[in-house]
Symmetry: C2
Subunit: 169 residues, 2 copies
DNA sequence: TCCAAACCCTTGGATGTCCTAGTATATTGC
DNA sequence: GCAATATACTAGGACATCCAAGGGTTTGGA
C-alpha cells in the first residue's frame, strides 16, 4: 500500500476523539482500531507466504485443522465450529480444496445429513510444507517480544471467552 | 455462529504445535491466531451497531475520516493512505456512499488526476450519530481493562511502526 | 406411528479486500 | 518543448465472509 505515513493515523484518531469530548472511549477505540489494522498486516504476511503453495489462509486453516484430527476426517459443521466461521465459508473452502485434490468429501456413515471432509495424501503433504513455511517466515518472526506474546494470549483469550467463543479455562 | 465450544480452539492449536515439535513458535502462533479471531469478533460487533444506519465499517471509517478533515474534503489517495487500504477499496466505498448521498466527488482545483471527496450535510449528520452509537455500544464496552488497553496500544503501535505503517513516535 | 421442529449442507446475493491493467493527467529530464 | 516516467483513479476478476432461503435427514413429542 505504499510509503510509511509521517504519523500514526490511529494515534491521530485517538487525539481527535479526545478533542471532541469522547476522551472516555478514545483509548479503547484506539486499541480496537489497532487490532483491526494489525490483523490486516498479519493476514497480508500470511497470504504472501501461502501463495506459492496455492493456498489462502482460510484454506490453510482447514488443512491444518484436518491434519490434527485424530480420525483424519471431520464433519463440516465441526470444522465450522472449530474454525469459528460461517458454515458457508467452509463449504466454499472445501469446494476449492476439493477441486485442488487436497481434501475429499465423503458421506457420514450413520447421519445422512452430515458430510465428512478428509485430507488426501497430497493435502497432508502440502499442509506440512505450508506449516513449516509459516512457522519460519511468520510465526518465528512475529516481531512481538515473548512477554508481549504472553500478554496478548492472556488478554485476548479472556476477551474471546467473554465473547462466547468457548467456556472453560 | 453458535454455541460456545467446550474448550479454547486456539489453546488446542498451541498444544498441537508443541506436540509436533514446533514449541519455539507455538506461542506467537497462538497470539497471532487470537488477533485474527478477536478482529473477527470486533468487526461483527461494529457491523451490528452500524447496520441500522445503513453503514458498514469500511464506509463508516471513510465518513469518520472526512468528518475530521480540516478542509472538509480529502483526495482519494489521501484517504487511501490514512485508512491504510488499497485505492480500489476507497473507490468502492465512495461509490456506495455517493449513491447514498453521504459524500460527493469533486475535481481537484489544480490537479486533474485527483478527485476530492467531501461529506454532504446528511453524511456529516450520519457520521455523528454512528460515532455516538459506536462509542456507546462498542468502544465503551470493549471488555478490555484500562491497563490492557494501554498495553495493546503500545504493543500494537510498535508492531505497526515496525511493519512500515508510519515512522515517528 | 407420524408430523413438526431441529439440524446439515448448499446455492445465490451483497460486501469488502486485493491485484492487474488501462486511461488520463503531471512531472521530470534531455 | 517533448518524450519518458510517475501518479491518480477506475474497471474487471479472484477470494473470503456473512445472511437468507431451500431441500434433504433425523429426532422427538403427541
Amino acid at each position: 500500500m505504499g510509503t510509511p505515513l509521517p504519523r500514526d493515523p490511529i494515534a491521530d484518531a485517538q487525539r481527535n476523539w479526545e478533542r471532541h469530548g469522547w476522551g472516555d472511549v478514545a483509548a479503547p477505540m484506539a486499541a480496537i482500531t489497532a487490532i483491526m489494522r494489525t490483523q490486516q498486516i498479519l493476514l497480508a504476511r500470511i497470504e504472501t507466504v501461502l501463495k506459492p503453495f496455492g493456498l489462502t489462509f482460510a484454506r490453510y486453516e482447514l488443512l491444518a485443522l484436518l491434519s490434527f484430527a485424530r480420525s483424519g476426517a471431520l464433519p463440516m459443521n465441526k470444522a465450522s465450529a472449530l474454525l469459528q466461521v460461517h458454515p458457508t465459508s467452509v463449504t466454499n473452502a472445501v469446494d476449492r480444496l476439493e477441486k485442488a485434490a487436497l481434501v475429499a468429501r465423503s458421506p457420514h456413515p450413520t447421519d445422512g445429513r452430515t458430510t465428512l471432509i478428509e485430507l488426501t495424501a497430497e493435502g497432508r503433504t502440502l499442509a506440512k510444507k505450508a506449516t513449516a513455511a509459516l512457522n519460519a517466515e511468520v510465526f518465528g518472526q512475529s516481531g512481538f517480544g515473548d512477554d508481549d506474546v504472553d500478554h496478548l494470549i492472556r488478554v485476548l483469550g479472556t476477551f474471546r471467552r467473554d465473547a462466547g467463543d468457548f467456556t472453560e479455562e
